[in-house]
Structures are given as structure tokens and as C-alpha cells.
């Protein structure tokens, strides 16, 4: 990273520098969209897609070698993270089990996320569910995009995919 020559499948130095500068902004914006799902348009799915587009920026600008190294290091982490998001969602739904299944327990008993409607700390169970769905969507899409990228480059280089 940061060398002057062009990596295999990567782009030039200018593109790589701008991508590394932009990356924290994209991630912050994605987390903002996820957490403010009950106030502004957005929520779990939209924020998750923005977070996955951060992964796409890295993949396209830094090339195939970096993607392959990252994939080899973290290969076992994609599926469990995604499933963890799903489990968080079900646990959040099951907290209000005393009345019915999707009961918004935190809102009506005015604990953790109870507050006046229109502020950030309100909405009860909704921000927790948004975070869970955002985690699931982001890791899912990032994994799928990484796999497509690595598969296509391996095939065009003639290696076995």
C-alpha cells in the first residue's frame, strides 16, 4: 500500500490516497444512517448498504492482492458475524415476551431508550433492531462483493477459482 507501482488490479496512487481519506467519512455516514433510523429516512437496510459500499471502495481501488489477503485472514468471520446480527434481532424481539412477541418493552416501560419522541434516545427497541439489521446487511453484502471480486480476478488470471 502506498507504493508507486500499480498493484495487480488496483488503481493509481491518487485514487488510493483519496479512497483512504474518504473511508472514515463513508463509515461514519453509514453508522449515522443506521442509528438514526427512527428519526430520518434510513434504518437498518439502507445504512448497511452504505457500509458495504465502503468495502466496495476499498476493493476497487486497492486491487486484488489486498482483497485476497484480507479474505484469507478473515474468511471464517463473515458467516458468524452475519448470524450474530440475526440472533441480536431475535433477542431484541423476544425481550418483551411477557406480553407478546414483538412487544416494544423498552419504550413502554421508559427504560433505556424511552424518551420524548423526536430525540435520539427514544423509540424503544427500534434502534437495537436497526443496529442488528445493519450489521447483518453490511457483512452480508461485503462478503458477497468480496467473493465476486476475488472469483472474477482469479478466473481472469487463469488460476483455479
Amino acid at each position: 500500500m502506498g507504493r508507486n507501482d500499480i498493484e495487480k488490479g488496483g488503481m493509481s496512487l491518487i485514487v488510493r490516497t483519496i479512497a483512504s481519506i474518504l473511508l472514515p467519512f463513508i463509515l461514519t455516514f453509514g453508522i449515522y444512517v443506521v442509528i438514526h433510523g427512527h428519526l430520518t429516512p434510513g434504518g437498518g437496510f439502507q445504512g448497511g448498504v452504505v457500509l458495504a459500499s465502503a468495502a466496495l471502495v476499498v476493493l476497487v481501488s486497492f486491487g486484488y492482492r489486498l482483497a485476497e489477503n484480507m479474505y484469507k485472514k478473515y474468511k471464517t468471520l463473515y458467516s458468524p458475524l452475519e448470524a450474530l446480527g440475526g440472533i441480536l434481532f431475535i433477542i431484541a424481539a423476544a425481550i418483551g415476551f411477557s406480553v407478546a412477541f414483538f412487544y416494544n418493552y423498552l419504550w413502554t416501560s421508559r427504560t433505556l431508550f424511552g424518551g420524548t419522541p423526536g430525540t435520539l434516545w427514544s423509540g424503544g427497541m427500534l434502534p437495537i433492531m436497526n443496529i442488528a439489521v445493519g450489521l447483518k446487511v453490511a457483512t452480508g453484502f461485503a462478503g458477497v462483493l468480496a467473493l465476486f471480486f476475488i472469483y472474477t480476478y482469479r478466473k481472469s488470471e487463469g488460476e483455479k477459482p
Binding site: 428519526l39 429516512p41 434504518g43 437496510f45 423526536g118 458477497v144 465476486f148 478466473k155
Partner: protein
Amino acid sequence: MIPPLQYFIALFLIVAGIWAIMLKKNLIKILIGLSVADTGVNLLLITLAYRNAIGGAIPTAPIYTGYEKGMIMVSPLPQALVLTAIVIGVSVLALALAITLQIYRHYGTLNVEEIRRLRG
């Protein structure tokens, strides 16, 4: 826009998508037709959310940070439906593209008339 025009556009998108699925020979074009049909259905669902202007007030989308009494909103239910339908459409498209990649590896072509080893 006038509501009947949007219904016709949504219907045109759905028909165009199904036409592309039926008549095109390249697998990627069939998947594009599937995506266009999904977009048409989502447009139809969103168009149904409009509520007519009552007493001169024009309905707005329900994002409010300063709610005054007497504001008319469009119905938010189809917006949740469309969100779910978009997610489902994207998931099906992702699965279809993964299967298409593998088909290209095995058959070497994306022409639907040549991917026909199962017959009878």
C-alpha cells in the same frame, strides 16, 4: 404528477420487465428484466400511498421534526412494504448473479438456448 399517469408508468415497467424475461436470449438481459419488473411493482406500491389534498393542503411524506396540527401526511404503510420488497428483490438478484457466474464457468456461454442439457 397526476395519479393515473404514474399507474400507467408502473404498469409499463412491469410489462416491459416480463417481456424482457420472456423474449431475450442472454441470461444477463433476463436478469435485468427481472429487476425492471421489481422496480415497476415497487413504483405501483408507492403510488398507492398518495392521499388526496383535503381542503387545499398538500400531503407530505411523514418526516416531521416540527409537527403542526392539521398537516396531512401520505400513508407510511406502503413505504415499509416497498422497503421490504426492495430488499427481497436485491437478495434474489444477488443469488441469481452468483448462479450466473457458476453457469458461465461450466457452460462457457450465457446464451439461454445453449444452456439446455436437461431435456425430456
